[in-house]
């Protein structure tokens, strides 16, 4: 179950980036995303789980680069979400490897997939909302101020939750 979801996530992420770059006019890069996806799957089945972090980093950087170049943001966001899902499921598969044969892993898999699906849907929904919901242009100083406020607030929240 997890393996199928992982394969679908990797396909979703890398195909989205490939399509996005293709639509942006950089079709030459598309093949690299397909290769990245294939390599990720290969390393996963070889149990080289550390590669999933590298793959996620590459996909986020690629999505950010695509955004910077003005390629369709929806595909870039889908690429990032696919990478995030693949990264999560790869680590989950690693953790499942510690289970004993008699452990009830099917229920755990089902619960995990439900939750990570909700998280992905929420993240994707918020991202799409932020893309399509636009306010009038703010002054540069105000925008920077709001972003710094957001970063500080997020940091404070994370520290608070860690405690």
């Amino acid at each position: 179950m997890t393996t199928i979801a992982l394969i679908l996530s990797i396909l979703l992420g890398n195909l989205s980036l490939a399509v996005g770059y293709r639509q942006g006019g950089a079709a030459g890069y598309s093949i690299w995303f397909l290769l990245l996806g294939a390599l990720w799957l290969f390393t996963h089945f070889r149990k080289w789980y550390w590669f999933s972090s590298i793959a996620l980093l590459v996909m986020i950087v690629a999505a950010a680069y695509g955004v910077w170049l003005g390629y369709p943001t929806v595909w870039m966001v889908l690429g990032a979400v696919g990478g995030l899902l693949g990264w999560d499921l790869s680590d989950f598969a690693r953790r499942l490897g510690y289970a004993a044969p008699m452990d009830d892993t099917r229920t755990m898999e089902r619960r995990h997939l439900e939750r990570v699906g909700i998280v992905a849907a929420l993240g994707l929904g918020l991202a799409l909302l932020s893309i399509f919901l636009r306010f009038e242009r703010l002054a540069f100083e105000v925008a920077v101020g709001l972003l710094i406020l957001a970063v500080l607030g997020l940091t404070r929240l994370v520290i608070g939750l860690r405690k």
Partner: protein, 427 residues
């Protein structure tokens, strides 16, 4: 790098990119990561309170015997979505059946019980606890805790039942036992004839001796039988026990020491044990079952070792053994051991050497097809015979044990001098 830190760095990098380029799309890219992190943190367990208990099917086993361990983990804190339980198995033990590592979900107040089977070689094993990793749903936060679940397992050396061990130390203790005390008194074995004294039972009168004298009657005197002090010294030096290809005679020495100690304690003697290897492992002399347990536990933990101080037998602390008591030295022996053993004998100790034969042991796995090995074996055999003869000439009793032969057969042949009452019945 932890997962949460990795995701946080990516998120901050995207936010920073958004600030620098003034493009809101970067924020959109960061939002799935932010959602993931926040939900992970929000769903982390609030309070982790785990308790564990451990039960062993048996606490004393023989080498490679299966022992079942049952571990119960109870969650006294908040619900845990994912908990990886890894029971820490002491080095040396092997899991024979089922698994010692489990991945489960534990709701608040719920318990999880698992069992598995281990076995292992001789040794004392201490189970300290479980390594537990607690994760939230998304494993953003991971807590590693050690849950205490104590347990002890002794894999004791096999003990062969030996019927009777005939030793004759010069000095015995005051309590009645089975070792001839070299003194006249009540007993079963004839000791001598003395003049009749009032109170002697009539059946003790030696009529034949009395008939030769017209003035007095003579009575038979019997040898007193008492318990003795016995010190067992087990040689754990690496250079005497370890051979090529990882073969070792030490387990045979331990088995012999365990069997001898068991038999002597059963006869009522006071037995102490000295392990002579990297350090001196001294088990104080004592009687009975508790002492048997102490000695077996000490032997279970005995290991060979290499030490410059104890590389030869010069440092056997003789003050640990009562004067003129019996010392049983269990060792494969090397040439250098001759002098210290003779010194022990000269100090008045009765010394019995039980020597697992290293030459036959090594030849048994080297094979005899190679003529060079054969020749070397013969030379070593002659050297060993010479050493044993020298020891015997110094009035040290030596048992040369070919370890392919069961130890009880050797003892029966060499040391089983049946008690007098048994011999009387046999007559």
């Amino acid at each position: 790098m932890s997962r949460s830190l990795f995701l946080s760095l990516l998120t901050y990098a995207l936010l920073l990119a958004g600030i620098v380029t003034l493009q809101g799309e970067f924020i959109a890219l960061a939002l799935p990561l932010v959602s993931y992190l926040l939900i992970g943190y929000l769903q982390a367990p609030e309070r982790i309170a785990l308790e564990a208990t451990r039960q062993l099917s048996i606490e004393r086993a023989v080498p490679n015997q299966d022992v079942e361990l049952t571990v119960t983990v109870t969650n006294a804190g908040s619900s845990i979505e994912e908990i990886l339980i890894n029971d820490l198995i002491p080095p040396g033990l092997n899991v024979r059946d089922k698994a010692s590592r489990h991945l489960v979900r534990l709701a608040s107040g719920e318990s999880y019980t698992f069992a598995y089977t281990v076995s292992g070689p001789r040794g004392g094993y201490v189970f300290n606890g479980l390594d537990v990793q607690v994760n939230d749903h998304l494993a953003v936060r991971r807590f590693k805790v050690r849950v205490e679940a104590k347990g002890r397992l002794f894999v004791l050396p096999p003990v062969m039942r030996l019927r009777h061990i005939a030793i004759r130390p010069r000095r015995t203790r005051v309590y009645a036992g089975s070792i001839p005390a070299r003194a006249g008194g009540t007993g079963t074995e004839f000791f001598g004839v003395r003049e009749y004294q009032p109170g002697d039972p009539p059946h003790s009168i030696n009529w034949r001796a009395s008939a030769r004298s017209v003035e007095a009657l003579y009575s038979n005197e019997y040898q007193q039988e008492r318990v003795a002090d016995v010190g067992i010294v087990v040689d754990g030096r690496l250079r005497t026990n370890e051979f090529a290809r990882g073969h070792s005679l030490f387990d045979h020495s331990v088995q012999a020491a365990a069997s001898i100690a068991d038999a002597l304690l059963n006869q009522g003697n006071r037995v102490g044990l000295l392990l002579y290897s990297t350090y001196l492992g001294w088990t104080l002399p004592g009687y009975g079952r508790i002492q048997r347990e102490r000695i077996l536990q000490a032997l279970a933990n005995a290991r060979t070792g290499d030490s410059q101080v104890f590389s030869d037998l010069e440092h056997i602390p003789t003050r640990l053994f009562p004067p003129e008591s019996q010392i049983i030295f269990v060792s494969p022996l090397i040439d250098d051991d001759f002098k210290p053993l003779v010194q022990l004998r000269a100090q008045g100790y009765d010394v019995l050497v039980i020597s697992p034969n290293p030459v036959k042991f090594e030849l048994s796995y080297l094979g005899t097809s190679n003529p060079n090995v054969n020749l070397a074996g013969r030379v070593m055999h002659m050297e060993r015979v010479l050493l044993l003869q020298k020891l015997q000439r110094a009035n040290i009793q030596v048992l040369d044990w070919d370890v392919r032969e069961p130890f009880d057969l050797l003892v029966k042949r060499s040391l089983s001098h049946a008690p007098a009452w048994l011999r009387a019945i046999r007559r």
